[in-house]
Structures are given as C-alpha cells and as structure tokens.
Symmetry: C2
C-alpha cells in the first residue's frame, strides 16, 4: 500500500494531537484513503515531557533541521507558530521537495504570498486548514465546496478568546476586565492577551479568508483592526435591549464593478441581530459565514482551537495530500482557491469609504439642549437615526446616550463624531461600534 | 487549457441553475481551476420553455440517450430525479466511460451501492454533494474535512419543507394543517407532501450520511422514520415552555465495540434545547451537525434546496472532477468517504434497542388517581421523569398532560405506553416525541 511519510516540527499542544491521531487512527485513515500515513519523525526542544503517546517506531529529534533534511520524509508538519524560524523551516522543506501542512495563521497571513508560488513551482502542496477556524473545515468549504460562486461576503467569529469573554460579559453581567481574568484563569486567554483581544489574530485569519474568497493577494497589514477592550457591560445590555448581540467579527466584502475592484476588510466588535444564526455562536466556539451569488448564506461552526480539533484539521490536510501521493498533487484545488497565476493585486478599500450602520455611546452632561446639539450634527452629516435611548443618570450627574444609525460611510461618521466630541456638554470619547444587518 | 465537457440531463429548476452557472461563471471557474468546464449539450422533454439563458453553442436534445452516447461528453449531470430512468441513465453513462454528478438522493440512497462499485471499476467518479443539504458542502466536510475522525454522531435538519412548517407553527401559533397550506401556497411544499412531511426525504439523506460517516453500506430501508403530521400547536408551545424546540431530525450514531458493530438510524420530530445552535435553524434552512472524536461538534448551515443553491453544489462536484481530469481521478477522496473495498455490512440497531429521552403527551379524564396510575406504570418500567406538566382542562372536560422522561430504550417505552393507553381514563393515543440533549 502506498505510504506517505510525515515529519512533525513541534510537539506542543497541537503537535501532540496530530501525533495522537496519526498513531491511534492509523487503521481508520487507511480504510478511508486506501493508502497509509506514517509518522516517521518528530522534533521538539523538550523531548522528556510525557505526552501520553507511545512513540515506538517514531524518530524523536531535538533539532528540526534533521527532519527538513531527511530522505525518508515526504511531508513536513509545521506546528512551531510565529514568523521565524517557522518561515525558514517551511521554505527549506519546500526547497527539499517536501509537502507542508501548517496551523500557523501568522505565517500564512504574512508570508503566504512568497510560500505558495514556491510550492507551486516545486509541484508541492501547502495545507493550512487549521490556520483558520481550528477544526472547522472552512478553508475546504470556501476553496472547493463554494468554488462555483462569486463570494459576496465573509463574516467570521474567528477568535475563541474574544467570543468567550463577550459571552461571559453577557451571561454574567461582567465588565471586560473581569471576564478577561476569568478567561485567563481557565486558560482561554494568555497572560498577555493583546494578540487575541485587540483583534490581531482575527485579522490574520480574515486576511487569508479574503484572499481565498476574492482571488487577491494576502493583505494582512491593510485590515482595519479594533479589539473588544473598550466594550462595557452597559454596551452589552443596551445593545441586547435593542435586539442585537456584540460579536468580534472579521468582515470581508468585494466591491467589484466594471471600473473598479476593491476589497473591504475589517475586524471590530459588531452588532448582529439576536435572531441571527451567527449571534448564537457562544463561548469559545468559532463560526464562519460565507455567502455566494448562487449558494446564498452558508455557515460553518465548531471549535476554533484546542489540541484535538486543531489536530483534526491538520490531519485532514495530510490525508488530502496523501490521496494524491505520490503523483497527481497538482489535481487538488489550488491552496488559495485560485490558480496562482490568476491571483492578482486588488486594492483594499480605504476604511473612510466603507459603509456601515453604527452604534454610538456618549456620556453627556444632564442639561437642556444636549441631545438637540448632538442630533443636529448628525443631521448636518445626513446621518439618520434608527434608535436613540437616554439611560438613567449616573452618580456623576452625567447621562449615557446610545444611538443606532442607518448607513453612512466611515469618513462621514468620523467627521461627525469629531464635532460631537468637541461639544462642551459631551464628556469622554464617543464609543463607536458597527452593525451588520445582513448576516444570516 | 484542458477542458472537461459536460452533458446535462434535465433542464428543470436545478438543471437550469447548473446551466446558468456553467455559462455565466465560465471565467471565474477557469481562474479557480486553471482548466475549462464547457456545457456541450443538454437534454429535456420541454425545450421550448424560455429559461432566460443564452444557449448559443450548446446542443439541445429532446432525447437523453443522445447525451449518454455522445463522444464529446466527459461528464453527465443527472437532474431528472426519482429511481427510473435516472438509474439506467447513470449506469449507461458509467458504462460509456463518463463521470456522473447527480442531485438525486433517492437514487443514491436506493442504488448507490450498485453504482459506486461500477464507477470505481471504470476509474470514474460519482459526485452527489447536492443530494444532501442542497447548497451546503456537507458531503465534502464529512468525507474530507473530518476524515481524521471516528464520527460519533450526525444530526441533520435535512428537509426545508418540514423546517418551514415547524417554524411557521411556532412563530404564528398555527396548527400543522394550516402551516402546511401556507407552505404549499408559497411553493415550499408539493400538492402531495407525503414524501417530505412523513420524513422519507430526510431518511434518504440520512441513510447516505450514515454510510459515509461509518463506512457501511447504505440502508435506507432500515431507517426508522416518522414525520411531523401529528405535532400540534400545543406541543410546540408546551415544549417551548420547558426549554425545547421541535425539529425534524435525521439522527445517526455508531455503536461499535469489540464484540458488536451496529448503527442507529432514525428520523423523527425531536426536542432540542432552545439554546442549541441547531435549534436556531429556522424557515427552510437546513443544517447538518457532525461530531467526531477529535474535532468535537461541528455544524454546516445553508439552503437545502432551490435552483441556485443546489446548482452551486452540483457545479462544485463538476469542478472537483475537472481538477483531476483527464487523469488522476482516483486521487480524489472516495465518494462515500471510505475506499469501496473497506465499506462493510454493518447491521442497523433495532429501534427497540435505541436509547432516548422522551416527551409524552396524553389526554386524560379529569378524575382523581389518573396521574398516579400513569406514573406508576412508568415507575414499573423504571422510567424516571424529568418534568410533568398538567395543562388547563379542555372544553371536553379532558386534561392534557405532558411529560419529559430520562433515558430508556424504545422497547421499554413502547411497552409502558401500551399499558398507559389501556387505562380507562386515558383518551386517544399517546403522542411520543424524542429528545436529544447532546446536540450543540
């Protein structure tokens, strides 16, 4: 029986999961494929740790370069994470004629556009299903399952830490910092949570999804990115009363017409209707909602992280590549969903041109005429209101006001907000959240 | 550029959608594949109808056999539906060396186990993504995306007509027959709705999913099947008050141990927790929830029917086959997710052995001792109650009682019900629904 030989870089959480599947599900894998997948070698700096796996017959190395150079390895799994040395390792693996599977979203978001052409030139495949949405086979859905569609929108809950924090805030009425502490205590958030809570992880994943959806280059640096740290328990309850739930979404939409091609990419806390499917995605679950011109709305839901779910996606990629091994690899769908030569530079839409509906939260002095002053500025900018709620006065004698607006572009909204912030009766900054009514 | 030539059997709703994609998205398809897909010919009895498509360059035939015999066709799309002549046409296409793509769940459920080996023997592929879940790429998810997992359960809302009716009943307090009339008026239900509302369509789809999940033969005839026609508005509201929503689910679970292998397959109205992801799937939407030993819960959501969504899935299959064309077809994952030679006979678990939680609705005479009599029969059978609610007395002087029970097997429950029905104070039949708490 044909056999594909795997070398594993990194025996951390996910690497351990991958080794576990390859060893424990050996028979299932060969029944499904009619071929064998064999774990030949694994490299990690800390080999002494007990991982609860019987590594009999697997070569354990403390140096990754042994695996990159080995003659008896057909495919390298990179599970080190971060930019370097992951990038150099993947490049070396490809140069040495080895397929690559990785769960590293930072690497693909930043260096994918160098690595994919290198793989294509060498007749090799790069699998990265696990980089976005953890165990959810959403890359495959977008690249293959929806391949007949012009994609119209992508909405993703792509970071389990943020989703867990927002769910805790809602269910227990906690403020952000309390919910973050709980997430940290439970191991859902890192000691330094910036990468997750400020939306950077989501932006990595969104930039990959957008490039796959629209056949563009990956433009991580151009994703507009805001995190969840400014959200308060009061925002959660005020939006809930108005029929919405706050989710950190990655959003990508194409703006293609005869004259112009642009892609809109943004990551920010977003109000979604309470009755929508995506609003139900709670705790650390992830979901990706993809709409196409023929398929309409679809959604993919599951675990976005964790040893076992992420390993499930990594091994699915290994099995895909094995199904075409040793020849026929070129017959798989292109990694980014479009043949390399047809992927093109598509400019990112400037955030100022992006059209949204808005939620605004202001703290104003309790005196006559303030609401009139605020709403007349909005009227000047032709921004119309869907709802305005004045809440109870705070101890400080200030009054919180929340508003929902109809659509306007971001530049216009920012100009209005800057005038509103300048009013003497307006205290502090205005919190701006965006709303998406078109989610399913 | 390599080209795959398509012949289409049937220009009804879905066939029209497929023709539309192949013609309108020609450029997108070749950018994604690096190959061309060309609609060469289409057959239909009614060629005069205006379908709003420019068929220039497409050979239109009134006789399907012209397409089956044509030298210039590599792949036949069967969109006629039903058992015959679809089965004969697909068989002839395979014998003539043509790949097949179909949306015909009845055909696959009933004759798949003859057709797959024929395709494999001829080095050909059968695509049937559109047969289950319409536009949702759930076959691909199960066969490829979750290939590293032993599948632990499949729960599907697989019939849009039933889901539409149940949603209408809940939202508007309608009884079944009123909601059915609305569905018929809107074109969501056929004049003769038996196939949909009695669960047969769902059973077709479930039998395919179960075989793919567990590597067994397709056993449509052995699926336990109940429809939704006995549900009343009162059941919808009573279950809602207890925290549940009624959905028509197809359910498949493996029972594999060292001694025994059995697969549980059943279609029936099912109580699912209101807070679950699957409970949010409303109107005519479909969803498939698949759990695996590594990936945990996943769910796939979208349109289960309709011209454009179903055509999206058909063309995805055509593109998959094109990616491996003209050689390399054997490198795709096997149609049923396991290589043909490893698929085996696995007995279906007798319904009497299936363990469930239950919802019971009885109508009893308003007299002392009735509840004691009913509950003591349940106690005799060691069936314990999770909840019991006595509702207001009807005009008839009868009192409805609803109960939720903890787990027991179906045989035991039926024995208890048969004794309860025999009580003089119990009017009419007892309605039995089943509950699944393990859905996500």
């Amino acid at each position: 029986m044909t056999e594909l030989r795997v070398g594993l870089l990194g025996l951390g959480t996910i690497g351990t999961g991958v080794a576990r599947i390859l060893i424990e599900q050996k028979e299932l894998i060969s029944r499904r494929l009619g071929k064998q997948v064999r774990l030949v070698a694994a490299a990690d700096k800390f080999l002494d740790r007990d991982r609860g796996i019987d590594f009999t017959g697997v070569r354990l190395c403390s140096d990754a370069t042994e695996i990159l150079a080995a003659d008896d390895i057909d495919l390298v799994v990179e599970l080190i994470g971060g930019y370097e040395p992951a990038r150099t390792f993947v490049q070396t693996a490809l140069e040495n004629g080895k397929h690559v599977v990785t769960a590293n979203k930072a690497l693909i978001a930043k260096h994918g556009d160098e690595l994919f052409p290198l793989a294509a030139a060498n007749g090799l495949q790069i699998g990265f299903e696990a980089a976005v949405g953890g165990g959810i086979p959403c890359m495959k859905a977008l690249r293959e399952g929806l391949a007949a569609n012009a994609i119209e929108s992508v909405y993703g809950i792509l970071n389990g830490t943020c989703n867990f924090i927002l769910t805790k805030m809602e269910h227990e009425g906690l403020d952000y910092s309390e919910a973050l502490s709980q997430a940290q205590a439970l191991g859902y958030a890192e000691a330094n949570p910036t990468f997750d809570v400020e939306g950077i992880d989501t932006a990595h994943k969104l930039s990959i999804l957008a490039a796959m959806a629209f056949g563009s280059k990956i433009k991580f640096d151009e994703v507009y990115t805001e995190g969840i740290s400014k959200i308060t328990a009061a925002d959660i309850s005020a939006t809930h009363e108005m029929g919405y739930r706050i989710k950190l979404l990655g959003i990508a939409k194409p703006h293609f017409d005869d004259k112009n091609e642009q892609v809109e990419m943004r990551v920010h806390p977003t109000l979604v209707p309470l009755t929508s499917q995506i609003a139900q995605v709670s705790d650390s679950y992830n979901a990706v909602q993809i709409s196409g011109d023929f398929v309409e709305h679809t959604m993919y839901f599951g675990r976005g992280a964790g040893e076992r779910p992420t390993a499930s996606a990594v091994v699915a990629d290994i099995m895909d590549i094995t199904s075409g091994f040793p020849d026929g690899i070129a017959h798989l769908a292109p990694p980014m969903g479009f043949v390399e030569s047809s992927r093109r530079e598509i400019p990112t839409m400037p955030m100022a041109d992006v059209v949204c509906e808005y939620y605004l939260r202001l703290m104003v002095k309790d005196q006559p005429g303030v609401i009139a002053a605020v709403t007349s500025i909005l009227a000047d900018h032709r921004i119309s209101l869907e709802a305005l709620v004045q809440k109870e006065r705070h101890a400080s004698n200030n009054v919180p006001i929340v508003m929902l607006t109809h659509e306007t572009n971001e530049g216009n909204m920012q100009a209005a907000i800057s005038r509103i912030t300048g009013l003497a009766a307006v205290e502090d900054d205005v919190l701006i959240l965006r709303k998406e009514s078109a989610v399913a």
